[in-house]
C-alpha cells in the first residue's frame, strides 16, 4: 500500500473540492435559468430545444467518464498506480448515471420531435451499449473474493470496451441516421450563438459536478483502505 501518494491526493482533494463545488453551484445558478427560461426558443422545435441543454452535456459526460475510466485503468495496469484505479472505479457510477440521463432526456425529446422516443440507430444503440459497459465494469469489479483481482479484471474490461468510444463519437457522421450530427464541426457552429453560453455553462456545471463527486468517492475509497489497514494492524 503506497500511503504517501494517497496522502498527497487527500491534501490536493481537500484544496480542490470546495472550489469545484462553489464553481459548480455558480454554473448551475446561472446556467439553469438561462438555459430553461431566458435563452431563445428554437425556430422549429420551440421550447423543446431546452432539453438539449441537459442532453448534450450529459452525453459528453457519459463519454468523458468512460475516457477517464479507460485512462485510469490503463495507468493502473501499466504502472500499478493505486489512485488511478480508484479514480476509474469512482468514475463508473457517475458515468453510468450521465449516460442514463442522456438516454432518458433523448427519449423525452424524441417523443415530440421524432414522433418516437426510441429508434435503433447507430448513436442510440452505441450509447446504450456504453451504459451496459458501465454496468458490466461495475459488476465484474465486485464479483471476486479478492478485491485486487476484481480491480484488474474490470480494468481490462474497461480497456476492451473503450473500442466503443470512437464508434459513438463518429456514429452520426459515418451512418446516415435520424440523430442530428454534432453542432460543432470543422465548418463552424451550426446553432444560433445565443444558445452557446447556456450550453457551455451547463457543460461546465456537469463537469464540475463530476469533479466534486469523483473526489468525494475517491476520498472515501482512500479512507476505507486506511481503516482496513489500521484494523489489520490491530488484529495482527
Amino acid at each position: 500500500m503506497h500511503l504517501p501518494i494517497q496522502h498527497v491526493f487527500l491534501k490536493l482533494a481537500a484544496i480542490i473540492q470546495p472550489w469545484a463545488a462553489g464553481l459548480c453551484i455558480l454554473c448551475f445558478l446561472f446556467g439553469l435559468p438561462i438555459a430553461l427560461l431566458f435563452s431563445p426558443p428554437d425556430y422549429q422545435q420551440g421550447d423543446t430545444v431546452r432539453i438539449m441543454y441537459i442532453h448534450v452535456p450529459a452525453a459528453w459526460m457519459g463519454l468523458f467518464c468512460y475516457g477517464v475510466m479507460a485512462a485510469g485503468s490503463a495507468s493502473y495496469l501499466i504502472w500499478r498506480h493505486p489512485v488511478a484505479n480508484m479514480v476509474a472505479k469512482a468514475s463508473a457510477p457517475i458515468g453510468a448515471m450521465f449516460t442514463a440521463l442522456c438516454l432518458l432526456t433523448g427519449m423525452l425529446w424524441g417523443e415530440p420531435m421524432w414522433g418516437t422516443p426510441w429508434v435503433w440507430d447507430a448513436r442510440l444503440t452505441s450509447m446504450l451499449v456504453l451504459f451496459f459497459l458501465y454496468l458490466g465494469y461495475m459488476a465484474l469489479g465486485d464479483a471476486f473474493d479478492s478485491p485486487e483481482q476484481g480491480d484488474k479484471a474490470a480494468a481490462i474490461l474497461a480497456l476492451v470496451g473503450s473500442v466503443n468510444l470512437p464508434i459513438i463519437k463518429f456514429s452520426v457522421d459515418w451512418w446516415n441516421s435520424l440523430h442530428q450530427p454534432s453542432i460543432f464541426s470543422m465548418a463552424g457552429v451550426s446553432v444560433d450563438t445565443a444558445m452557446l453560453p447556456p450550453l457551455f455553462l451547463m457543460v461546465g456545471a456537469f463537469q464540475l459536478y463530476y469533479v466534486v463527486v469523483v473526489l468525494m468517492r475517491v476520498r472515501a475509497q482512500v479512507l476505507t483502505a486506511k481503516i482496513r489497514a489500521a484494523r489489520l494492524m490491530r488484529a495482527a
Binding site: L77, L135, A143, D145, Q149, G150, I156, G161, V163
Partner: protein, 221 residues
C-alpha cells in the same frame, strides 16, 4: 507454432471425447430456433423477414453458453496453470483455445444454419450469404467471448456476469451480421457489410488474444 497446433489438437480431441458438450451447443441452437415459429406464429412472410435475426441471436446465445467451459475445465484440473507456466507464450495458448472453440461451436453452427433457415421458411438463395456472414462473424464471437470467459474466471455468479460482460461487445457483430444477410436478401450488394464483419474479425484477432492472456494471468495469480 508447433505448440499451437499441438494445443489445438488437444482441445479438439478433448471435445471429441466429451462429445456431449459440442452436441449440446448445436442442440441448443436447433431447439431454440425451432421455438420461434411457435412463439411468432407460422405465417411465411413474418418468419422469412425475421429469420436472419433469429439465427444470429440464437447463434450468439449458443456461443455464450459454450464459453462457460472454455477455460474453467482446464482451470479446475490444473492444466491451465501448467499451460501458462510452460515456455509457450500465453497468447499462443489462448489463440489455440479460441481456434479450437470456434471449430467445435462456430463452425457447426454455421453448417447447421441453412437447415434451420429452411424451417424458418427462408428462401434457399439466402443460404450462401447466411453461411458467409456466420463464417466471418462467429470467429469474432469466439475471440470476444474468450476475453469475457478469461475475465470472469473465478468470479462469483459467473453465469449471470458473463452475458453482462460479453453481450454488449457482441452487438456490433449482430447488427452487421443480420444486415449483411437481409441486404443480400433484398437484392442489394452487401459487400460493404461483409467487409465490416471482416474488419471486426481482424481487429478482434489482433487484440482479443492479448486481452484474454492478460486476464488469465490475473486470474491465476
Amino acid at each position: 507454432m508447433n505448440t499451437f497446433f499441438i494445443l489445438v489438437g488437444r482441445d479438439l480431441r478433448l471435445s471429441v471425447r466429451h462429445r456431449a458438450d459440442t452436441v449440446m451447443v448445436a442442440g441448443f441452437f436447433a431447439i431454440t430456433v425451432i421455438l420461434f415459429p411457435f412463439g411468432i406464429g407460422p405465417e411465411p412472410g413474418v418468419l422469412e423477414r425475421v429469420g436472419a435475426g433469429i439465427l444470429w441471436v440464437t447463434a450468439l446465445l449458443a456461443s455464450l453458453l459454450s464459453l462457460d467451459h472454455l477455460f474453467s475445465d482446464d482451470e479446475q484440473d490444473g492444466a491451465l496453470d501448467l499451460l501458462l507456466t510452460s515456455p509457450a507464450a500465453p497468447t499462443v495458448v489462448v489463440a489455440a483455445k479460441i481456434i479450437a472453440h470456434w471449430l467445435t461451436t462456430g463452425l457447426p453452427l454455421t453448417l447447421l444454419a441453412p437447415v434451420l433457415g429452411i424451417t424458418l421458411q427462408m428462401p434457399s438463395s439466402s443460404a450462401a450469404p447466411m453461411m458467409t456472414a456466420l463464417l466471418i462473424g462467429t470467429p469474432t464471437l469466439s475471440l470476444i467471448g474468450a476475453v469475457g470467459a478469461a475475465l470472469t474466471l473465478g468470479a462469483r455468479r459467473r453465469g449471470i456476469l458473463m452475458p453482462l460482460v460479453v453481450l454488449p461487445l457482441y452487438i456490433p457483430i449482430l447488427i452487421f451480421g443480420v444486415g449483411a444477410i437481409d441486404t443480400t436478401g433484398m437484392g442489394f450488394d452487401a459487400g460493404g457489410l461483409f467487409a465490416v464483419l471482416g474488419g471486426f474479425l481482424l481487429i478482434a484477432a489482433a487484440l482479443c488474444p492479448w486481452a484474454a492472456a492478460a486476464a488469465l494471468k490475473i486470474a491465476s495469480e
